[in-house]
Point group: C2
Chain length 277, copies 2
């Protein structure tokens, strides 16, 4: 089963370093918990051609799931759907279901006394202009609907850039889809921490442990400096069930801890509480 995903984040604010890309981090973490493998994250600006090139890239790689964030709102520089339409070589048109969702939102704001009159201005109708093959996804938090396109090899989902809206649509409409497609795979990860061993001394020990434990991925993350090393050693495994993943990781931790204590001198090993998503 193809469980690969790519994420495309759209927004000039990400490219000028105004906004830290927490959306990509959140999506990558959530997708990984379902056993989905995130292969690439691409950030581009509010530019139709840049978006189209990024989307075409994911389609060319036959990525099963593509999620975009940002660029669905009412302003001129919300260009994600235009970029997707260009990539798919199709037209944008008013989607009646999406328009109904948007109307209902503004009627609600009107009833709440937030607006003086309900007026479907061009900026508001813009949020209902979707690629022909698209379906809208309900947005409980904001106004612009999410968008889903089921194509032969790829399912493309466009989510808003506002984190609360992005997360709400993901949980309601995307998470169930990913869970179903990922099958029964489980991702498990944990870390141990060691003082007093340089990363360069640890490297051959990790090599040996990974060679003997082919289902486990081990990566060292130096927290101090090479000369005053504080090392996080991160273990992760994707397996058919949580027990299998934990067993694989447990064996690898025992072997690497032994090797580290033998070779590295005085090492304190502190096991972090395993985070089973």
């Amino acid at each position: 089963m193809n469980q690969q995903m790519e994420i495309i984040c759209v927004g000039n604010e990400l490219l000028i370093g105004k906004t830290l890309n927490t959306n990509a981090h959140w999506l990558a973490k959530r997708a990984t918990t379902f056993g989905i493998i995130v292969k690439r994250i691409t950030t581009v600006g509010d530019d139709v051609d840049e978006i189209a090139v990024a989307v075409r890239g994911t389609l060319g790689r036959k990525t099963k799931f593509v999620i975009t964030t940002g660029g669905l709102g009412p302003t001129f520089d919300d260009k994600t759907l235009e970029g997707i339409a260009k990539a798919l070589n199709c037209e944008l048109g008013v989607n009646e279901k999406a328009l109904k969702m948007i109307k209902e939102k503004y009627n609600m704001y009107f009833k709440e006394g937030k607006m003086e009159k309900v007026e479907l201005t061009p900026s508001r109708v813009k949020m209902a202009k979707l690629p022909e093959i698209a379906e809208p996804l309900p947005n409980r938090v904001g106004t612009a609907p999410g968008v889903i396109m089921n194509m032969e090899e790829t399912t493309l989902v466009a989510l808003p850039g506002v984190p609360t809206e992005m997360e709400a649509i993901f949980e309601e409409s995307v998470a169930p889809l990913l869970k179903k497609n990922a099958g029964q795979l489980t991702f498990f990860e944990t870390s141990i921490y060691a003082d007093g061993i340089m990363e360069s001394a640890l490297a051959p020990l990790i090599d040996k442990t990974m060679h003997d434990n082919p289902h486990v991925y081990i990566k060292s993350h130096p927290k101090g400096e090479e000369r005053e090393p504080h090392m996080e050693v991160h273990f992760s495994a994707t397996a058919k069930d949580s027990k299998t993943a934990k067993n694989h990781i447990g064996k690898a931790i025992i072997q690497l801890s032994d090797l580290m204590q033998k070779d590295g001198g005085k090492i304190k090993i502190q096991k972090k509480k395993g985070s089973h998503y």
Copy 2:
């Protein structure tokens, strides 16, 4: 002058949502301050082919500056230089200048009593294996040198993933280069905040203001919900000097504030202290 940059971040930890990509944010912000235009940020895993594909993409787009972060260390999964060599169709070989830098580091650690003996193990020599055309960049904080490759159309710089090391090498060896190439361009940005105007009502006002102020980019960032709007409106401009950029932005702020107060009812406008990088 071509002032475009792309950033490639390498690391599985970024794709499983373990680590938030603060390196890309920091680099994008710093480069933007010099008038450099960051066009794309790509994150890939610790995989030679994935890295090579990402690097080839930047070369195909004739990007002037490419900065990679991560994957320069001593462990088996530090694969950035291997990926770059594959993209450039060249070999990796021990670079004598880089090896000297690394030797000096370990000699220093030995003198400080951090190591029992200095031994240039394969894991340590690995950090000196560079593409043929590369030059090492000194790393004052850690051990693995940065790497620079000057090609016909592109300057490619590889920096470590540990933020303190990445930042130190950038400031010492990359910032002067970017400043020189960006010429005299200055980036200026500021924000105003407004309550009580929906993003969909703001959209046509921004359109008009940008049309009348073609040197200014204006983007709305909704902080509340459409029904209870708290809006950040971000103004940015790149100009030949700071005074020109500020003038452009000042005019746009006055026009948009007027339009917002006329159309949007009760609006509080609070000007943030301008951040001139």
